[in-house]
Every structure is written in structure tokens, then in C-alpha cells.
């Protein structure tokens, strides 16, 4: 059985990783050993274009739910990354400095952004979307999309 929910838009296959949580702003959240790993969804990386810069808050910073903790930037757009939870930013993916394209090529794997030590994961988890619910939201966003996604 596939580990992804998938849909096709034009020639692009868009995937939602099962077992992760999601935000309405297209970030994914994976809870591992009490820590939270965060990245961008396939939909967000596709609509953002080829990522050239990834900037996140310093390690050790406090992050708050709904507040920006960083940005991803392409020639097409700059996207503010809104934190899915409150806590302490413990680690940033150092590979993204030299290889920001990992965000595009492997958004659910090697393209992860940060690891956060959560302040109250049970409280924050209640606001997150399941993979199924995020998939439905993504379909709604695609339906209302009039422009074309860039080639990849």
C-alpha cells in the first residue's frame, strides 16, 4: 500500500504523506520521540518554484504557533513559514544551506526544515489536520487554481 495519498494536476503528481499531520499553510508535521519535525508539503514546494534560499530562526529560539519561524525563497516567491506549534527550535536542516533544492526534490524526506521541542504537543496537535483532511484541502486549492504550476 502506498505511503502517500496522490492526485494529478496537469502533468504533476501531488502527494500527501500518510501518517503526518498538516497545517492549512501547507506545512507537514511528524512527531518522533517527543520531538517534532517540520517540512513543506509537496503542494507548497511545487507552487513555490525552485527553492534557492531557506532561512529559519536560530537554534534555541522560541517559536510560537502561527508565527513565522523562517522563509523559503525562489525567484518566483518568498513564502513565510508559520510555525505549527509552540516550543524551542532545536535543529535546522543544515543540508539546505548548500542544497536548498532538497525542499523540492524530497519535501517529505531529506528536505525537512526544522526540529522543534514542543511546549504542549497535545494542545497544538488538536489544531493540525490529518493527512486525509489536508488532502481534501489541497484538492480545494487546486480546483481554485487558475494559473499553471511550473514544470519540474
Amino acid at each position: 500500500m502506498s505511503e502517500y495519498l496522490t492526485t494529478t494536476f496537469d502533468k504533476f503528481e501531488l502527494r500527501v504523506r500518510k501518517g503526518f499531520y498538516y497545517t492549512k499553510d501547507d506545512l507537514w508535521v511528524s512527531i518522533e520521540n517527543g520531538k517534532v519535525k517540520v517540512g513543506v508539503s509537496d503542494y507548497l514546494q511545487k507552487t513555490s518554484g525552485d527553492v534557492a534560499f531557506v532561512e529559519v530562526a536560530k537554534t534555541g529560539s522560541t517559536v510560537e504557533t502561527g508565527r513565522a519561524f523562517g522563509t523559503i525563497e525562489s525567484a518566483k516567491t518568498t513564502v513565510a513559514l508559520l510555525s505549527p506549534l509552540s516550543g524551542r527550535l532545536d535543529e535546522a536542516n543544515s543540508k539546505l544551506t548548500g542544497s536548498p533544492e532538497l525542499v523540492n526534490s524530497d519535501p517529505y524526506g531529506e528536505g525537512w526544515l526544522v526540529i522543534i521541542a514542543p511546549r504542549n504537543i497535545e494542545h497544538d496537535r488538536a489544531s493540525l489536520l490529518s493527512a486525509d483532511d489536508y488532502f481534501k484541502l489541497m484538492l480545494e486549492k487546486l480546483q481554485s487554481e487558475h494559473g499553471k504550476l511550473e514544470s519540474r
Binding site: 518554484g49 525552485d50 534557492a52 534560499f53 525567484a75 518566483k76 533544492e101 526534490s105 511550473e150 514544470s151
Partner: protein
């Protein structure tokens, strides 16, 4: 005895049609081959090379080549390698963008002012590489 034909550097852009960076790779290549280094460089059609065209294959295997790719997928670099090209350099438009972060080329069909500027910056990088390679010959 005839003098041997002067070696040229072959510049091959990806010319990816879906992104502004593809158009920039193409324009930067023309700037070099038609203007900045028109006597010592030339370009060729990537698709023609991949289709097996004998003349194209001979050209890329007997001269040094520089590929210019619009995105991290590096199609020009991959295809030239597969075709047996003598790959001496691989440039990416994104590297010119990283040095010119203020430029935001949007238009794909016809380059906008930011696209032209980025193409000019990239052409400068290509020329530097060409000069390095010709200096080695």
C-alpha cells in the same frame, strides 16, 4: 598543410520551456556565442544531440563543452554526458540568481528586465569559464 580548425567551446543550454530560468539559460548562451565570444564558442540543439545526430555528437566529443541548466534537474548536463560529450563545465542559472537575489524574473516567453539582467550576469560567468578553458588549450 591546412591549419587545424580552431577548437571552440560548445555551450549547451537546457532551454527548458516551463520556467523563466530556462529562457535565461538560452539567452545567456546566445549572448556569449553571438556577442561576447562569438569566434571561440558555438551552441547546438540539445534535442538534436540526444536524437543521435552525428555532427552534433562529433562536435561535443571533440571540443570542450559547458552546459547551462535552468533548474536543479540538470537536463543539459545529464544529456550531454549521456551523448558522450567532453563536459568541461556545468553552470546553473540558480547560481547567478543567488548572487543577484534582488532580481525576480517572472516572464518565461519573453525575458523581462530582471530576466535580461540575470542572463547578462550568467553570460559573464560563462565567459569566465570559456576563457579558463581556452587558456588551458
Amino acid at each position: 598543410m591546412d591549419a587545424p580548425a580552431q577548437k571552440k567551446v560548445i555551450i549547451i543550454p537546457c532551454s527548458g520551456i516551463g520556467k523563466a530560468f530556462g529562457s535565461i539559460s538560452r539567452d545567456a548562451t546566445y549572448e556569449v556565442t553571438e556577442n561576447l565570444r562569438k569566434d571561440t564558442t558555438q551552441t547546438l540543439c540539445l534535442a538534436l544531440l540526444v536524437s543521435g545526430d552525428e555532427e552534433s555528437r562529433r562536435l561535443v566529443s571533440s571540443n570542450k563543452c559547458i552546459t547551462v541548466d535552468g533548474c536543479p534537474l540538470r537536463c543539459a548536463e545529464k544529456n550531454v554526458k549521456l551523448a558522450g560529450g567532453n563536459l568541461a563545465g556545468s553552470l546553473r542559472v540558480v547560481d547567478a540568481y543567488k548572487k543577484n537575489r534582488h532580481l525576480k524574473p517572472r516572464s518565461v516567453t519573453f525575458l523581462d528586465p530582471d530576466g535580461r539582467q540575470m542572463a547578462a550576469a550568467l553570460a559573464g560567468k560563462i565567459v569566465k569559464k570559456v576563457d579558463d578553458l581556452l587558456g588551458e588549450q
